[in-house]
Symmetry: C2
Subunit: 497 residues, 2 copies
């Protein structure tokens, strides 16, 4: 037990804008952790140290109190304050960062390992702080956000927040806020022919989480999954990274074809389809194909995941009924999203699951993130229940139809001979077909240089090569923006002639 | 090709409050799907059917248009409207639900299988719509929500919503809204001594999602994990259901002990600890134990998960520095939550990860749910940056301290000889120790009958048997509620004498 006093305590320079008590705390702590102050060393009295440092005594006392509380120091009645004797000296220096090259490969401790899943997603590009809010034509999947009735949203939000202390005292239920589940069940049965009650609705943080939950609840590592080719890549990634063996099945103008699938891979436990509007080709799955798929699922005991991502935007006639509507054997899991109909940053989506799976999906949701934020669930519930949602959808339907027509007209006039594009009866994007042999990725890269956001069709291809094309989102941009972007696109395509 | 006209179309009774066009659509569709109307059958003219049903012709035309669009009918110029010939007749009847008992076990198709994960969570209780908002003493982990400054929250929310169309045009970055990550990094380095920049912060939908992401990014099936015994059960469940082999290590008054762990299970890839305030015993991990744990992780190449769930509520002195603060080898993953400091329904939490893992965690977050809702992230960012968060924490710290003292006093006066309870220097709950031999689960059940929410200490036990006790949350209840609840508890405990 050493009893000599510490000669002085130096304040670290780097923390000079921190409060004095914290500077003292840190320098004593660092001195102990680096072994410069050893167990049993007596510290100067708070009075002496205060005088030495030119600070008030209470500042030193505060620092010492913190060090005492955290176990660095110990007080002995009448004797003063000491570096704690319980600190294991041999651990102190090993806690310092190793000097570079100080250890041979044999003695250097192993770096911690990450999971196989993490190894596979390493290097994935997932949005950077610099460019995340840069939304330019023809980014796909963004809404006409300037047309969203944020004034109504604000009024509802204020009302919900004022009631929050009364309505949201603790945690919510994992399946989601009941009034929102009721509003969604009513909306989907009316507009999409989905057969469900609120007890079958699971509120998710967007469609992506819905897909992730499906992977967890329905698939084990090694299970076979069919997806469409071309395919929504984030769905493919979720199934693949969950360990499923994914087979991509080429789609045609009638959408996914069970017969074609069986000829590529004899069987699957789950099939992921976008029947209303195949992503990204836009094909609508025919009635015959729907019935065949349901029959296959019934015969084989398989699951059908129906991603109904932008089916609300049908410009001729009413939206087609969902595939789930035809299911009589509880084989269909329906995925819906409000990212396209409200706004993407909202992060609300839903699953409609067979009654006997509702509790399991809720339990899985509970383990994933307890439940989705209640205030936004409540705001959306009232937004739907009061009719604002249906009204907004109607407005966007006619706005998007006009924007689509404008894009087709502008492209027809200015890009004749360079790109073929034609009207579609639904969706939020069109495919601009390029001339054979052109590399659509090269076109997209070139476009990026002059501020265009172009998605090459080939980026959705899984195994089957697609003809060159660009996936052009038009819903998020007004006519001036579209016209300017078409002009830019002309210069890009011209450079490939 | 049959050409005879359909005798009549009957409207289904059950849908009598649906619009007429929909009733017509549904009855024709159901007739086709059940095989009553076969391929090639000619339908009556819209005029004739309108007259027969007593509705306007446009109503019938609307229904026919929908049926044509969905492929149930086809029009032949000059000849009328027919049931589509492409519908495969043999699929129609199989789409009907099987009559009960109609099939032998041999011919009945297999029911779809769910995953192993789903099999294990089947039957988990995860909150019901009936009781979710019933928050009564002594529910643990709820805040004094009536004291939350919702007026300020509302003002910020209004501001954020008014800027939303400009700020949130598309999707956000998976790691989270940069101003919130900056605010959290600044707050945690000041109040918790966490060493991090905004680039190390991943915003999650609550701490539960943080744990789930950790499991995915760091663990493979079969990896060994140490947890504390007793333990926060939702963490245990996430690791276990992810396929890890979990070993529970008894804690003592100094918290988790590496030496004890190694004697139970030689090694682990990851250890989950609550060093500031062991959950639920309240023990603070000693400095020596912290250094030992960090040294072990460095030597073995293992990960330490520090769940810092309610460390802000320290009633004597300042909060102790985090374990992450001592880490010089990038072994610690820090988990924080705003459920206890803002309100539980918010669903915002964070991960602080070593710099070289930040991109991988962001990519995993992207696959799980793209990103957390932006409006609430932005509101919280401004709430923190403007100082409201720190002010609210200070107010709650003194309020919770008073509520704790009140609970201890009341219990001391009214439950003497029945339950031992003493003050703690931190946390949001106390343990009320029952007399030896009493079954704390039976006490909790009895309490539920008269409206108390009691959590038996034994429910946190993994393998080691705990002495009987009740985990009593006090932060969410005022003195009147606590006094009444203590009186109720007296009658419950009295009934066990």
């Amino acid at each position: 037990m050493k009893n000599e006093s510490v000669p002085f305590i130096m304040l670290a320079e780097k923390s000079s804008d921190a409060p004095f008590y914290r500077q003292i705390y840190e320098s004593v702590r660092d001195a102990i952790l680096s072994g410069r102050l050893t167990s049993g060393t007596r510290l100067p009295s708070s009075r002496a140290l205060a005088a030495q440092l030119g600070v008030s005594r209470i500042t030193v006392v505060n620092a010492f109190d913190q060090l005492l509380a955290e176990g660095y120091l110990e007080g002995r009645t009448g004797a003063g304050t000491f570096v704690a004797s319980e600190i294991p000296d041999d651990l102190l220096t090993v806690n310092e960062p190793e000097p570079t090259g100080a250890q041979t490969p044999e003695t250097r401790p192993p770096p911690p390992a990450i999971s196989k899943f993490a190894m596979e997603i390493r290097g994935e590009r997932s949005g950077t702080d610099a460019d995340w809010d840069r939304v330019v034509p023809f980014r796909n999947g963004v809404t006409a956000i300037r047309e969203f009735p944020f004034d109504i949203w604000e009024k509802i939000a204020v009302r919900v927040i004022r009631q929050a202390a009364r309505r949201f005292r603790g945690y919510g239920v994992p399946a989601g806020y009941l009034p929102l589940r009721e509003a969604i069940a009513a909306h989907l049965s009316g507009s999409r022919g989905v057969r469900c009650g609120a007890d079958q609705v699971i509120i998710t943080s967007g469609a992506q989480q819905a897909l992730d939950l499906i992977g967890r609840v329905l698939l084990d590592r090694g299970d076979r999954v069919w997806v469409e080719d071309p395919c929504y890549q984030e769905a493919l990634a979720v199934f693949r990274l969950g360990g499923a063996e994914v087979t991509a099945v080429p789609v045609d103008v009638d959408g996914f074809d069970v017969g074609a699938a069986e000829s590529v891979c004899a069987d699957a436990k789950l099939v992921y389809v976008t029947p209303s509007h195949q992503y990204p080709t836009g094909a609508t799955m025919s009635l015959a194909r729907r019935l065949e798929l349901l029959d296959w699922a019934r015969r084989r005991g398989s699951w059908i995941v129906e991603d109904d991502y932008n089916s609300e935007f049908r410009y001729t006639g009413r939206p087609l009924a969902s595939l789930q509507n035809l299911d009589r054997h509880d084989r269909v899991i329906y995925v819906g999203t409000f990212s396209k109909t409200v706004f993407p940053a909202l992060r609300l989506g839903c699953l409609i699951v067979p009654v006997n799976l509702a509790d399991i999906f809720a339990a899985a949701k509970n383990l994933c993130d307890t439940h989705t934020a209640l205030i936004e669930q409540a705001v959306l519930a009232e937004f739907i229940a009061e009719g604002h949602f249906a009204r907004h959808l109607r407005r966007m339907r006619s706005l998007y139809e006009m924007r689509q027509a404008f894009l087709v007209d502008e492209s027809g006039r200015r890009l004749a001979g360079m790109m073929k594009i034609s009207k579609a009866s639904s969706g939020m994007h069109l495919i601009g077909w390029l001339r054979d042999g052109l590399d659509d990725r090269a076109v997209a890269l070139k476009g990026r240089e002059i501020g265009l956001d172009l998605t090459p069709l080939s980026s959705y291809s899984v195994t089957k090569r697609q003809p060159p094309g660009l996936v052009l989102g038009y819903t998020g941009f007004n006519e001036r923006e579209i016209a300017e972007a078409v002009e830019k696109l002309r210069s890009v395509l011209g450079s490939f002639d």
